[in-house]
């Protein structure tokens, strides 16, 4: 009884207001429409297609033939490059990402010190990021050249012995070479810019308060900068890991996955199956496994992030 009474006494929403609401919603969807269409055409549609393809044999020329789970069983049991490529891709990401995050943060802090000529330093730091990947690969192939490259020249000069790594020629060293090359490109790139922006967003009052409390340089960094930057670190970390796991161009151009498959990254594996052997079904299955692994990995990162990421504007 009482509930009915209150419901009856509630003033109905005036008509113009609901109209305005509807109008706003329609306009909102209209502005959103390019992206909605884009998600359907270029993301959801292709995802469904590749999901279906992963259960087929498809070589483009002949129509796709449904084979059930055959691709997946083949990947897990017969594909001798599957596990190694997945493992080395992760190993690569787990080394490159933390090191380049630390490097980029250090670079950002350095460039945030109002040094004279910061504009120039910033450009110098960013240079590797602007170098075309093919040129960078050739450049590093020369730098790491086992016989005439400058790195080995220095190593021999300093150590005085003829034992120097074979780098891109040696299965044990090729990955290290690619990691160094990736770091060179990643430290001064977009990651550093986003850190710089993050640093400039830390309120000065917090530093002033810390100084009043007698904090030194390290204490300020540890207790003000680092906590305030955790969201930026998290953002860079998630994107950095996804970027590192997808590494393709650098490996493709610099080492072609060799020697002895020591740099056979997962994306290279997918590419070869899809665009060299034209096994579109098999490659789609590979891609979906990758997507699944990446999804779980990212999900775990988000779960973990609640423990260490601090959002200043967050209301509990």
């Amino acid at each position: 009884m009482t509930t009915k009474a209150t419901a009856d006494t509630r003033t109905p929403r005036p008509r113009w207001m609901t109209n305005l609401r509807a109008k706003e919603a329609i306009a909102g969807y209209l502005f959103l429409s390019p992206w909605l269409l884009g998600i359907i055409l270029f993301i959801v549609g292709p995802m469904i297609t590749s999901g279906y393809l992963s259960f087929t044999r498809y070589d483009i020329v002949n129509p796709a033939e449904f084979v059930g789970l055959k691709n997946f069983t083949e990947i897990f049991t017969k594909d001798r490059l599957f596990w190694p490529s997945l493992m080395l891709t992760f190993r690569y990401a787990l080394i490159v990402v933390p090191l380049s995050l630390i490097g980029a943060l250090a670079a950002a802090i350095l460039l945030n010190q109002a040094l004279l000529g910061t504009t120039w330093f910033r450009t110098f730091f960013f240079l590797p990021h602007l170098t075309p990947i093919v040129a960078a690969a050739v450049l590093w192939a020369w730098i790491f050249n086992a016989d005439v490259g400058p790195i080995n020249h220095w190593i021999r000069t300093i150590t005085g012995s003829d034992n120097a790594p074979g780098w891109f020629r040696d299965p044990d060293w090729a990955m290290t070479g690619l990691i160094i090359m990736a770091m060179w490109g990643a430290i001064g790139g977009n990651t550093m810019l986003i850190f710089l922006a993050g640093l400039q967003g830390v309120p000065q009052e917090l530093y002033d308060a810390a100084v009043v409390d007698g904090a030194g340089l390290w204490a300020k960094f540890r207790n003000v900068t680092l906590p305030m930057l955790t969201p930026t670190i998290f953002f860079n970390m998630v994107l950095g890991i996804i970027g590192a796991l997808r590494v393709f161009a650098a490996a493709y151009v610099a080492t072609q996955g060799g020697p002895a498959y020591s740099t056979w990254f997962y994306s290279l594996h997918i590419y070869t199956r899809a665009f060299q052997y034209f096994e579109m079904g098999y490659a789609s299955a590979l891609a979906w496994i990758f997507f699944f692994v990446l999804f779980v990995f990212t999900y775990v990162q988000f779960r973990q992030s609640r423990r260490w990421v601090y959002y200043a504007g967050e209301v509990d």
């Binding site: 919603a25 269409l37 005439v148 020249h153 400039q200 997808r246 504007g313």
Partner: protein, 308 residues
């Protein structure tokens, strides 16, 4: 600066005791700290620049000089004609035009539509908006490999392979989740009172977008444009997969010609000195762009308040 003014005084007094005082003085320590920072900045600049400097120097060498041992820095006789040779051996001018065309058009499309979509997420209330925004953000995590194969098949079916449409058209559908996020965050920081005042004056949604929000968003728009342009200019995977005809290449893949990859170049002799010259020509415009835009870049990201 401070170090200089203090130094003569200690000399005047002479003696180790005063010198110890000097080392402990706050201004001296600050000067020392600054000096150390400059030292780090200069030396790490050198590390980052070294490959580029070597590229420029090598672009002026003769082919055989590059792999000389021990490595030499300077070309014996600067070969400026290397740059002209690049234009003669490959259709470099055409490739430059192709890259410019693809990068400019797709940047335009991406930034424009990302702004529209960001406006929608920032300023309108409608059902499922927040869910759609979460979906948008999660697309950032989707590996290209999952969509690349079906997209290739789709573009093959509609006859778009070996044209610029696969590189350009998708940009007109909101650009990327990152750009949408950047624009939305920025629009959220503009007081909504401005929109409301304009609406009272009779402005519609489109007018509010063009005449109120966009003029206030120049820094973030510039950031979005510069980042997209640089990424498009250097994009390797997509043109590599979608383009086949040599005259249609963009610079990022055309430059492989000088590497003399089998099945790619007519001549199996790698031409690394020309590759270096080509690399310099390809990088110079975006270095200039970055140098001019960098202040905007950092500010644009700060103002949009990217916090993850």
């Amino acid at each position: 600066m401070t170090g200089e003014t203090i130094a003569p005084r200690s000399k005047q007094a002479g003696g180790g005791f005063m010198l110890a005082d000097l080392y402990q003085s706050a201004s001296f320590q600050r000067a020392l700290g600054r000096g150390l920072l400059y030292l780090i900045a200069v030396s790490s600049s050198a590390v980052f620049m070294f490959p580029f400097v070597w590229t420029v120097l090598s672009s002026l060498k003769r082919g055989g000089e590059l792999f000389r041992f021990p490595p030499t820095w300077f070309p014996e006789i600067p070969q400026f004609h290397n740059y002209a040779d690049v234009f003669e051996i490959v259709p470099w001018a055409t490739w430059t035009w192709n890259s410019t065309f693809v990068a400019v058009v797709s940047t335009f499309g991406a930034v424009l539509t990302a702004a529209l979509v960001g406006y929608s997420f920032a300023r309108f209330r409608y059902p499922a908006r927040d869910v759609l925004f979460m979906i948008t953000l999660s697309t950032m995590m989707l590996p290209v490999e999952v969509t690349l194969i079906p997209l290739y098949l789709m573009f093959a079916k509609i006859g778009w392979l070996d044209s610029y449409r696969p590189l350009i058209v998708p940009s007109f559908f909101g650009g990327s989740a990152f750009l949408i996020f950047l624009m939305r965050q920025f629009f959220m920081s503009i007081p909504i009172d401005l929109d409301e005042a304009a609406r009272i004056d009779g402005a519609g949604y489109v007018r509010i977008f063009w005449q109120i929000l966009m003029p206030l968003s120049i820094p973030v728009t510039a950031t979005a444009a510069v980042l997209t342009f640089m990424a498009q200019w250097n994009e390797f995977l997509q043109p590599f997969i979608f383009l086949n005809t040599k005259s249609k290449y963009t610079l990022a893949i055309g430059i492989r010609y000088f590497q003399a990859v089998s099945g790619f170049a007519d001549d199996s002799e790698p031409k690394y000195h020309l590759l270096m010259a080509a690399s310099v020509m390809m990088t110079a415009p975006i270095i200039a762009l970055f140098f001019l835009a960098q202040q905007y870049l950092v500010q644009g990201i700060v103002m949009s308040g990217i916090k993850g």
